[in-house]
């Protein structure tokens, strides 16, 4: 390990994560690791008693938080000891055709900002039990702790039951984000399949599938969702399923459009000349070549689904209290909008920041992956 002038960097520098990278002159990578290290230490120190409690609590989320914390520490210090490993990670040791896209993405400052925001949100969510001293449903003394304004003890105040708003928002992130991830996985998978089949098969199949897509797209999303949820008296699992099953048509449209052009390329013709079966061509040759737009749609879709879930829960048709999701917190807070505005305000800000992060990353991915924009 040497710095830019060729001097050796002493191994002891690795005790502080990121320091060797900083000495090597790689500011962004070094500072990120440093931040990660400092964050890990800070959480470990301030939450020491909670971490100890986690060992005896035997709850899944405490264990998850513990594993996350250990993983953070491992990442920060192992990379600090061997920066080349980080270098390989950062320049894309993945499949070679993703490398130009990653290079493009890394140049986009806003996209990187979005990525950092996302990382921070995910960490905060996973580490929630160590970050706050309250439980998500822990009701304080109704008389004494109801609607307390933000203070040192309750950084974002308390709600109508005297519950800590910060805690509710952190735990609410788990609910909102998991719903988003599962629903997007369903809708993207389905949308890609339908789009690829329609685009590749063409003719009557294409016509039929796309008319169905037209029909579904004609419903304002929220209207379709609340209608279905009301008719089926949906439980949370069903709601996630319905979210996924109603949001795929736009992906299908995008994928179909791209498949139509990929289908005409020479390598597909070659595959056909080799006598490969249609499913094999679709899955092995066509779908991998339309993954770019699909990834973009998934990222932007995540932001969108978080907004939709919040809307549903706000109407009282999504996640049901006392489970905290961001929409539920806003719904509960909005009755006391004037007397305790912090509940609604901060839960909404959590949504805004998360959606901004997904949108920034999504836009960055689009710029990096869209061949039409390549200059």
């Amino acid at each position: 390990m040497t710095d830019p002038t060729g001097r050796r960097i002493p191994r002891i520098a690795a005790l502080l994560p990121g320091l060797p990278l900083l000495l090597q002159g790689r500011r962004r990578a070094g500072l990120s690791l440093l931040a990660l290290g400092v964050l890990t230490i800070a959480v470990a120190v301030t939450g020491a008693d909670r971490i100890l409690a986690a060992f005896s609590a035997r709850r899944v989320d405490s264990w998850l938080a513990l594993v996350t914390l250990l993983a953070c520490a491992a990442l920060a210090w192992s990379v600090g000891l061997a920066p080349e490993r980080f270098h390989r990670l950062a320049t894309g040791a993945a499949a070679s055709h993703w490398r130009p896209a990653w290079r493009e993405f890394r140049r986009n400052r806003l996209a990187i900002l979005g990525l950092y925001l996302l990382a921070l949100i995910c960490l905060a969510t996973l580490l929630a039990p160590f970050l706050t001293g309250y439980g998500p449903g822990e009701i304080g003394d109704i008389q004494a702790t109801r609607h307390l304004a933000p203070s040192l003890e309750h950084p974002l105040g308390t709600d109508k039951f005297g519950r800590d708003v910060l805690t509710r928002i952190l735990y609410g992130a788990r609910v909102s984000l998991s719903i988003g991830f599962v629903a997007v996985t369903i809708s993207i998978t389905l949308g890609t399949l339908v789009g690829a089949v329609a685009g590749y098969a063409g003719g009557a199949v294409d016509n039929l599938l796309m008319r169905f897509v037209d029909m579904l797209i004609s419903f304002p999303r929220l209207v379709l969702l609340i209608t279905v949820i009301a008719l089926f008296d949906a439980s949370l699992i069903l709601i996630v399923l319905i979210l996924g099953l109603t949001l795929w048509p736009s992906t299908a449209r995008i994928v179909r459009g791209d498949v139509l052009s990929v289908r005409e390329r020479e390598f597909v013709e070659a595959a056909r000349a080799l006598g490969l079966s249609a499913p094999r061509i679709v899955f092995r040759h066509i779908i991998p070549n339309v993954m770019g737009p699909v990834i973009v749609a998934a990222t932007l879709g995540l932001g969108n689904i978080i907004l939709i879930e919040a809307g549903l829960s706000f109407l009282g048709l999504g996640v049901q209290p006392p489970t905290p999701s961001w929409g539920v917190i806003i719904r509960e807070g909005h009755q006391f909008l004037t007397s305790a505005p912090w509940v609604t305000t901060f839960a909404g800000l959590a949504i805004v920041v998360t959606v901004i992060a997904f949108n920034l990353v999504g836009d960055g991915l689009r710029d990096a992956l869209d061949p039409r924009l390549n200059r």
């Binding site: 008319r211 004609s218 209207v223 609340i226 008719l231 919040a310 909008l337 909404g348 805004v352």
Partner: protein, 331 residues
């Protein structure tokens, strides 16, 4: 072009029928039937059976389907279970309110979006451009109902406690008219009162899409400005104002028209939430109230009409595009 418009119209009809079929299938798939709602210990099973018969629920499914299609196509949406009057009568009251709200929101979306987009394109990479780009990203990422709540918090409950804040800038948090004293106002007074109530909901509904439109407008304008005919216009000495607003704007607006059809579903989804927050008696509030009351005929009819509004909106966008852009061939 007439043939093209005719074809779009013909395309919209099977689409509408398809939407109707989809709603029917949803109702059929749902557990229980409308009569099941009335099953109670003190209602005799015979009465329930009679209801099934009256509503045609004992008929085979294809007969029910055709009955359903026939009644919807002829504008008979059934009878509200909660309000005890025809669904058509309820919706006739509510649709104008939704149209007023979404119309105003559309005006904000396109006026604000286009204006901001032009400013950003003309001053590309300036500090103003960057601020506006980030600002629109922020607003675009906001849930509309949260923005609505924040607007209420700021403009109807907090600011008027500030002594010098003018009264006319304090907006009412709910309803379409003042509940007290509205009837005693003159024509202009009534109009002013209605507009006053319209301000916050239409802003809450409009600005996030306006931010999106601004983004598209900016890139569309930038693309047009690079073209040769703009250089020609500048070279012959036209003032910059005329180059941008007369020559470039027309072509830059073309792709924006397609956004109208694209953003209509978003706008109407937003309307459901914003109407609920502001207690605005439109279709969105109707469907939400109907769901709380398990008033399925109203839910079905309203969601169908929402979809029809989107179909009609798309039709308008297509026709507008065909009328405005003569370069496109339709065959």
């Amino acid at each position: 072009m007439t043939a093209y418009i005719g074809r779009r119209l013909l395309h919209a009809i099977p689409l509408t029928l398809g939407i109707l079929t989809l709603v029917f299938v949803l109702v059929q798939l749902a557990p229980g039937d409308p009569a099941a709602l009335y099953i109670q210990p003190n209602v005799a099973p015979e009465v329930i059976e009679q209801m099934r018969e009256n509503w045609g629920l004992d008929q085979p499914i294809h007969i029910q389907y055709f009955q359903w299609m026939k009644s919807f196509v002829t504008g008979d949406f059934g009878y509200s279970l909660a309000q005890h009057r025809p669904v058509t009568a309820i919706l006739a009251d509510r649709i104008p309110n939704t149209l007023i709200l979404s119309g105003t929101a559309l005006l904000i979306i396109f006026a604000l979006g286009i204006a901001l987009g032009i400013i950003q394109a003309v001053r590309q990479h300036s500090a103003l451009d960057n601020v506006l780009t980030f600002g629109s990203l922020f607003i675009y990422s906001m849930p509309s109902f949260w923005l609505a709540l924040m607007l209420i918090l700021i403009f109807s409950s907090k600011l008027h406690t500030v002594g010098w804040w003018p009264d006319w800038l304090t907006f009412p948090p709910s309803g379409i008219t003042s509940s007290v004293g509205y009837e005693s106002l003159g024509f202009w007074g009534k109009l002013a009162d209605r507009l006053h109530h319209l301000v916050l909901p239409s802003i809450a509904l409009g600005v996030s899409s306006a931010a999106a439109v601004a983004r598209y407008m900016r890139s569309s304008m930038l693309e047009v400005i690079r073209q040769d005919y703009i250089r020609t216009a500048r070279a012959k000495g036209l003032p910059e104002r005329a180059v941008i607003l007369k020559h470039a704007l027309k072509n830059a607006l073309l792709p924006i028209i397609t956004l109208f059809g694209l953003y209509l579903p978003f706008l109407l989804s937003g309307a459901v939430l914003v109407e609920t927050v502001f207690a605005w008696p439109g279709m969105g509030k109707t469907i939400v109230d109907a769901i709380y009351a398990r008033d399925y005929p109203v839910v079905m009819a309203t969601s169908f009409l929402f979809a029809v509004m989107v179909v009609v909106g798309n039709l308008i966008a297509d026709v507008l595009y065909a009328v405005i852009d003569p370069r496109i061939r339709y065959d």
